[in-house]
């Protein structure tokens, strides 16, 4: 029988929730890396027991963790304990927590500043990894979206990281500005039908696409309209919160922008709004049903100043028509006095026959639906604030 493994990153550690295909009884392990912020963890599609985790701290910096047994044990890719940490000429070895921006004229442009909150030029400073995206074809290749916004890639299982500097250097980088959560690259989508194509999204810059494996990039923000920036239809500057794609239809993208739920039918070349009858179109998460490319899920949040669900009711909204027509899904979710948020990487779907949907809240609850959102049950109610949720469907 199939089973599912839900990977939960929280403010104070990682948790791994497992169940059989019925998704009724759950085992919970954790906290892994207790006390550390776990921004994201995700499994390799080719070797599901290989997991990558971003362990981070404002005090102690960035750590990359890896597991080859589905999260039972973890190691930092890099120098084994007891071995010298420097090369014979005294240079530090490439431990896995080393993210260094590429400023070389050969591989990137020596771009050194972006816009600060007040519009002044500010140097790029690495802070943390927000999102890890393992390759669809190679268990040793993994991408990292970081703050300050940039994209890194490792091809040796997370030990050494190289920036794909063409993204920062393509021309608009000096106009990027932090969102309220920092200037983070939070979304990485790999196109399963075209290994050369991938999408990223950055707050507050927008969405970008490469068609040559990450060498060159272009902004794909036409059709976005953001009232809070000087030019509402600018090429960059939009606070994109998350983007989702169904793997069977990779040219169709769905976006939860700061305000507005958007859709593109041409790989991001143009976008149109599909907020329709949502009670509020502010939000963070968006995801697509595993088997129905036009069924999408969002969790509307009241506003950009009130980061909690609308009317004190936790409701997932589902559209079965690719947007515009939305239905509230509330069965099993609190419908009074609820003031949690659902952050941008905190929703995921499994690929069992009856699609499972999972999301975590800033109140520490992780909810699961085994019937595509018709009803929900809490897997657990009392974790630290949830930063990310991923799910693996296992044989």
């Amino acid at each position: 029988m199939s089973k599912v493994r839900v990977l939960v990153g929280t403010r104070k550690g990682a948790f791994i929730l497992t169940s059989d295909g019925k998704r009724e009884k759950w085992d919970i392990s954790g906290p892994h890396f207790a006390g550390w912020e776990i921004y994201h963890l995700k499994g390799s599609p080719t070797e599901p027991n290989r997991l990558f985790a971003s362990q981070t701290s404002g005090w102690f910096g960035q750590i990359i963790q890896c597991s080859d047994d589905g999260g039972k044990t973890w190691y930092q890719p890099g120098t084994p304990p007891g071995e010298p940490t420097t090369t014979p000429d005294g240079m530090p070895k490439g431990e896995s927590n080393k993210f260094v921006y590429d400023t070389s004229p050969e591989t990137g442009k020596p771009l050194t500043t972006h816009q600060w909150y007040d519009g002044t030029a500010h140097p790029w400073e690495f802070k943390r990894v927000w999102h890890l995206e393992p390759s669809l074809t190679d268990a040793n290749t993994v991408y990292a979206g970081v703050e300050d916004a940039a994209l890194f890639r490792s091809t040796d299982g997370g030990q050494n990281w190289q920036e794909l500097a063409g993204l920062r250097g393509h021309g608009t980088g000096s106009k990027w500005q932090p969102g309220a959560g920092g200037m983070c690259l939070h979304t990485i989508i790999l196109d399963p039908s075209n290994p050369q194509r991938m999408y990223v999204a950055i707050s507050a810059a927008g969405a970008f696409r490469t068609d040559d494996g990450g060498k060159t990039w272009k902004p794909i923000n036409r059709g976005l309209h953001s009232l809070y920036i000087p030019d509402p239809t600018a090429e960059v500057g939009h606070c994109v919160h998350h983007v989702a794609m169904h793997p069977a239809r990779p040219n169709v993208l769905f976006m939860q922008k700061h305000w507005d739920v958007m859709r593109s039918d041409d790989a991001g070349e143009s976008w149109h709004e599909v907020s329709g009858n949502l009670p509020t179109d502010f939000g963070f998460v968006i995801d697509v049903h595993a088997h129905e490319p036009d069924t999408i899920f969002v969790v509307p949040i009241k506003s950009d100043s009130e980061h909690y669900v609308h009317e004190g009711k936790l409701r997932v909204y589902r559209s079965r028509s690719g947007g515009n027509d939305w239905e509230a899904l509330s069965k099993g979710l609190p419908q009074s006095d609820c003031y949690v948020n659902v952050l941008r990487d905190a929703m995921a779907v499994d690929s069992l026959d009856s699609c499972g949907v999972y999301f975590g809240t800033t109140g520490g609850q992780v909810y699961a639906s085994a019937n595509a959102g018709d009803s929900w049950v809490p897997i657990t109610r009392d974790l630290p604030a949830v930063l990310s949720v991923e799910v693996q469907t296992l044989p």
């Binding site: 890396f33 550390w36 701290s57 005090w59 102690f60 431990e95 080393k98």
Partner: protein, 98 residues
């Protein structure tokens, strides 16, 4: 033998309980202690000093013998009590408010 007190997060990361005992060759300085610490616990590289610049991470401080050594030169010899292991060398996560 030098005694080093790590903050709890770094103890977790390094997999140690309690204080760390280190053998430091030559003159006992902050740099020598941190070099020895990172050699024994490579997973700590980058968590105390920046990987590239080697500078102290901004929210960390160093104390010993009741003195704040955070802004002392890294190659300044430490007190004999630290070198002998009578007093520990503290690495502390800076806290400003609760």
């Amino acid at each position: 033998m030098i005694l080093v007190v790590l903050p709890p997060h770094l103890r977790t990361l390094a997999g140690v309980r309690g204080d760390v005992e280190l053998q430091v060759e030559g003159e006992v300085t902050r740099r020598a202690i941190l070099d020895a610490l990172e050699t024994r616990y490579p997973m700590l590289r980058g968590t105390i000093r920046d990987h590239v610049t080697g500078e102290r991470r901004p929210f960390l401080r160093f104390f010993a013998c009741g003195e704040d050594l955070t802004h002392e030169p890294p190659d300044k010899p430490l007190a004999a009590a630290v070198a002998s292991g009578a007093e520990p060398f503290y690495i502390i996560g800076a806290i400003a408010g609760g």
